[in-house]
Subunit: 209 residues, 2 copies
DNA sequence: ACATTTTTCGACCATTGGTCAACTTTTGTT
DNA sequence: AACAAAAGTTGACCAATGGTCGAAAAATGT
């Protein structure tokens, strides 16, 4: 395990440069320059440009994952509340990272796509187990009535991730709101909970900015 | 509007080359060579490599979209059946296009990501209106009980697209099966339909290969 | 037959991701 | 302290890429 300062310096540099630009438009030399080190050093720490990127995704993803795992054990809190907390954690960590809209005036519907997709992938696969466990507890406790806990966890994560990261499938704010309301309604009916009882989930699904 | 033969030739070439490789590893010269034309000609028909790619996505997407639009008008068919038909159309058109697994032996968990994502984006935004309309009809007819037709359409499309295109969030076949079963169950309970009544939806959700 | 527009082309250019051998710094050993 | 081995750093360098361009070749019009 090599020098972690430089390693993080490189990640910082890429993160900074990633603002409103996609990976392709950022050169390795530029990353090196921004990090204040020689280009060669970059390849001492990372095997490829892609790898830097991947490491960055992973770094930004650490915290929400931990939160989720911890929360899985807190059985004294209501499962839905814990769900809400997980969403919150994901949301806040990702917003700092993903929210950069593509340069406003440029007709750039294209992508920092890789970043978003990788983030989504990580989020779903990593958080799913914790969320599944929570749902399972909710089922045991009689607060959730549903036969496919893992599936439910995944469905919720997928929809939330896709809709809250409004760049995979960009849509106007009202659409996001409506889809989330719909999801909550579907969740209420699907898990045998009274209408409106899950409305508090909207608090952690605020659309960015 | 220029010569359409060459235009399609280029698209064909890219489609062929895209088998198991991502865009980055395919050079424009290679596309030209495969298409049997000069490299310069490519830039006569397309402004950039990206644009070729985008056009390819669009071309492969035409048919399912039309199917969906037509189906929206067929009010004599049950809404759920029409849903099933739309999924089928999407599925069959996309499979020819997306199913190429990354080279078997290579530890290449990475991406033809752009392609998949763009496909997903198109699918969701374009099919959503038709599906919403169908759901709305189902609500009027008393076959579906749900307050957010557009949201329901989007949720279903998102989950299906993500799970059936098993490369955005790769997971084992059993997982896919379970998530789809869960979705169907959620749909049944959420729309006030009896358990098992939507099971026939699984037929059009066959996992690829 | 000729002029004009559309299409085709590959040599060419700037820039890129990545390598490498040389150099400096750190660490360990006596 | 003296030395050697290891770890870390560097920018010149390389092959390859996406994209440009002027010129040639087809196609079209008159």
């Amino acid at each position: 395990m090599a020098n972690h300062e430089k390693y993080d310096l490189i990640l910082d540099a890429l993160e900074k440069l990633l603002t409103g630009r996609n990976l392709q438009t950022i050169s390795v030399s530029e990353i090196a320059q921004t990090a204040g080190i020689g280009k060669g050093s970059i390849y001492y720490y990372f095997p490829s440009k892609e790898a830097i990127f991947e490491a960055l995704v992973e770094r930004n993803y650490e915290k929400p994952l931990e939160t989720a795992k911890k929360l899985a054990g807190q059985t004294h809190i209501s499962p839905f509340t814990r769900m809400a907390m997980i969403f919150q954690a994901c949301r806040s960590s990702s917003s700092a990272f993903l929210d950069r809209q593509p340069s406003p005036l440029q007709a750039n519907p294209q992508e920092s796509s890789l970043l978003h997709q990788k983030y989504m992938n990580h989020l779903i696969t990593e958080v799913k187990p914790a969320l599944t466990e929570i749902i399972r507890q909710g089922i045991s406790a009689g607060q959730i009535h549903f036969d496919y806990p893992a599936a439910l966890a995944e469905i919720v994560l997928i929809v939330l991730t896709v809709k809250l990261d409004n760049s995979l499938v960009p849509s106007p704010v009202e659409d996001i709101e409506e889809t989330l309301l719909g999801l909550i309604s579907l969740l209420e009916k699907g898990t045998g909970n009274p209408v409106g009882s899950l409305n508090f989930l909207t608090t952690c699904m605020q659309t960015p900015s």
